[in-house]
C-alpha cells in the first residue's frame, strides 16, 4: 500500500516535470517566461556549483533558524506565564487578538527604518510572524492539562514549578510542537519575503537579482530551492514531533494490552 502510494507520488511528480518540459517547447507559453524543466535543471546545477549560492542559502537559514528560535522561546515562555499567573490571560486576550492578525509584511517599512538591510530586519519580521503561532498553541496546550493529572500532582505536594515542569509542560507539548511546526513554515516565508523586498542578503535577494538581470531559469531554480527548503523543514519538524511525542495518543496509536 505504502509502496504503491510512493510509486503514484513519483509518477505524478514525473508527469508534472514532463509537462513543464513539453508545454514551453510546444510554444504554448513563452519560453522566455516559462523555461522548460531541463533548462531550469541546468540553471539549478550551475547554482549549486556557485559559492555565492551557498552563502545566500546560509544567510536565509541563519535568519530562519535564529528567528524561529527566538520566537519559539519567547512564545513558550510568554504562553506559560500568561496561563499560570492568575488573571493575566483575561487581561492580555484582547491585546493578543489585536496584534496577532497584523500581517508581518506590513512591518517591512518599520524594519527598514530601524535596521536597513541588516539581518535584524529579517529577524524582526520572522519573529513577529512566528511568535504568535507558538504563543497561541502554547495557550491552548496549557488549557488542555487534565484536571485529574493536576490534582494528582497537587495531592502529592508538587509545587508550582514542579507542576509546570512535570505536568503542564508535557501536557502542552503536543500543542507547542504543532505551533513550532507552523512557525517554522511561516518563518521561512517571511525570511524569503524580507530578503526579496528589503534586499537583505539571502536566497530572496538572489531571486530578485536573477529577475532584474533577466536570468529567468536561474530565478526558477532558486524558487525550486525555496520550495525544497520548505519541504525539508516540514519533514524535519514532523520527525522531531514524532520522536518527542512517542508517548502521545496521536503518535503511539492504539496499543494492544
Amino acid at each position: 500500500m505504502r509502496g504503491r502510494n510512493l510509486a503514484l507520488g513519483a509518477a505524478g511528480l514525473a508527469g508534472f516535470l514532463a509537462l513543464g518540459e513539453v508545454v514551453p517547447r510546444l510554444g504554448l507559453v513563452k519560453e522566455a517566461y516559462f523555461p522548460p524543466t531541463s533548462s531550469i535543471a541546468a540553471a539549478f546545477a550551475d547554482e549549486v556549483a556557485d559559492g555565492a549560492f551557498w552563502t545566500a542559502l546560509g544567510d536565509t537559514l541563519t535568519g530562519w533558524a535564529l528567528g524561529l528560535a527566538i520566537a519559539s522561546c519567547a512564545g513558550i515562555v510568554v504562553g506559560v506565564v500568561i496561563s499560570v499567573v492568575p488573571y493575566l490571560r483575561e487581561a492580555t486576550a484582547s491585546t493578543i487578538e489585536f496584534l496577532r492578525p497584523i500581517p508581518s509584511v506590513a512591518l517591512i517599512p518599520l524594519a527598514v527604518l530601524l535596521y536597513g538591510t541588516e539581518l535584524r530586519s529579517v529577524l524582526l519580521l520572522v519573529v513577529y510572524a512566528s511568535f504568535w503561532q507558538v504563543l497561541v498553541q502554547t495557550l491552548y496546550g496549557v488549557q488542555d492539562v487534565d484536571p485529574v493529572a493536576d490534582e494528582t500532582a497537587r495531592s502529592y505536594g508538587l509545587g508550582t514549578w514542579a507542576r509546570v515542569r512535570h505536568v503542564l509542560w508535557p501536557s502542552a507539548l503536543p500543542y507547542v510542537m504543532t505551533g513550532v511546526r507552523l512557525a517554522a513554515a511561516v518563518a521561512l516565508i517571511l525570511a524569503i519575503t524580507a530578503e526579496l523586498v528589503i534586499g537583505a542578503p539571502g536566497l530572496g535577494a538572489r531571486i530578485a537579482v536573477a529577475q532584474t538581470s533577466q536570468a529567468v531559469p536561474e530565478m526558477y531554480a532558486l524558487v525550486v530551492v525555496t520550495g525544497l527548503l520548505g519541504l525539508l523543514i516540514n519533514v524535519g519538524a514532523r520527525t522531531v514531533e514524532r520522536r518527542a511525542l512517542a508517548w502521545h495518543q496521536s503518535v503511539r496509536g492504539e496499543v494492544a494490552v
Binding site: 497537587r154 495531592s155 508517548w247
Partner: protein, 268 residues
C-alpha cells in the same frame, strides 16, 4: 488520626447553588480501614477532595493528627478513580512512582529502593520500564497504588479506585488493598458505591445519605480479619451486613428520615 468536623460544601456558580455536602462529622482511627458508601451523586468525591486538601470546604474542618488540613498534607496519599488520567503517559511506570518522592528530601538510592519495593508489593516489579498505556486497566491502577505506597503515607484516601475495572480484576485489587493494609498498617479511607466491596474491605462502614450529604449510619464490620473472596462473600454474617447496608442505601435514596447511630449492631 483523621477527623472530619461539621464539613459543609456548597458549590456556587452561574446562578445555581448546590449544597453537595451538608454536615459531615466522623473520625477514622489510626490503622483503620474505613469504607464510605452512599448513593451515587452523594458528594463522596467532594468529601474526599476536602479531606485531601484539594478543595476548601465552605465550613467545617478536617484534622489530620490534630492539625487542620489546608492543603495537601505530606502524610497523605490519594488514589483516584481515573487511573488513566492520574498516571502520566509521558513517564514510564517507575518514573510515575518516583515523581512524588522527588518532592521529599530523599537520596536517589532511597527513592529507587522505595519504587522497587512498592512495585514489588503490587506485583508489577517487571513493568517498571513500561509506559502506563501499555498496561491493562487493572495494572494501571496497581501502578497508581504503588505510587501511593512509595510515598509512605500514614493515610491513604481512595476515591472509587476500582469502579472502572472488570469484576475479576476488582476482586484481585480488593485483596491487594486488604493485604497491603494488614502488612503496612496504613490508615485507609476507601470510598465506593459498591456495597459488597465496602463490607468485604472495611473494618467499619460509614453510610452516607443522599445529597445534601450527612452521615446516615456507622457500622462495625465484625467479620474475621482473614477474608477471602470465596468464603467471606458467602458467609451468613456477610450477607446480613450487606443486606443491612443495602437497606440503608435504599432508604437514603428515598430520602427516608435518617438516624445517626454509631456502631449499631445490625439485626441478627
Amino acid at each position: 488520626m483523621l477527623e472530619v468536623r461539621g464539613l459543609k460544601k456548597v458549590y456556587e456558580g452561574s446562578g445555581r447553588r448546590v449544597e453537595a455536602v451538608r454536615d459531615l462529622t466522623f473520625t477514622v482511627d489510626a490503622g483503620e480501614l474505613v469504607c464510605l458508601v452512599g448513593p451515587s451523586g452523594c458528594g463522596k468525591t467532594t468529601l474526599l477532595k476536602c479531606m485531601g486538601g484539594l478543595m476548601t470546604p465552605t465550613s467545617g474542618e478536617v484534622l489530620l493528627e490534630g492539625r487542620a488540613v489546608d492543603g495537601p498534607p505530606p502524610g497523605m496519599a490519594f488514589v483516584f478513580q481515573e487511573y488513566g488520567r492520574s498516571l502520566f503517559p509521558w513517564m514510564r511506570v517507575a518514573q510515575n512512582v518516583e515523581l512524588p518522592l522527588k518532592q521529599k528530601d530523599l537520596s536517589k538510592a532511597r527513592r529507587q529502593e522505595l519504587v522497587a519495593d512498592a512495585l514489588r508489593s503490587v506485583g508489577l516489579a517487571d513493568a517498571a520500564d513500561a509506559y502506563p498505556w501499555q498496561l491493562s486497566g487493572g495494572m494501571q491502577q496497581r501502578v497508581a497504588i504503588a505510587r501511593a505506597l512509595a510515598y509512605e503515607p500514614r493515610v491513604l484516601l481512595m476515591d472509587e479506585p476500582f469502579a472502572a475495572v472488570d469484576a475479576q480484576t476488582r476482586a484481585d485489587l480488593e485483596d491487594l488493598v486488604r493485604g497491603l493494609w494488614r502488612e503496612r498498617g496504613i490508615t485507609i479511607l476507601f470510598v465506593t458505591h459498591d456495597i459488597d466491596e465496602a463490607v468485604y474491605l472495611g473494618e467499619r462502614v460509614i453510610v452516607l445519605s443522599a445529597s445534601p450529604t450527612v452521615v446516615r449510619e456507622q457500622l462495625k464490620v465484625d467479620l474475621p480479619d482473614d477474608r477471602d473472596q470465596l468464603h467471606t462473600r458467602v458467609a451468613p454474617r456477610f450477607a446480613e451486613l450487606r443486606t443491612h447496608v443495602y437497606e440503608q442505601i435504599q432508604a437514603a435514596k428515598r430520602g427516608a428520615p435518617h438516624l445517626v447511630r454509631t456502631d449499631t449492631p445490625p439485626p441478627h
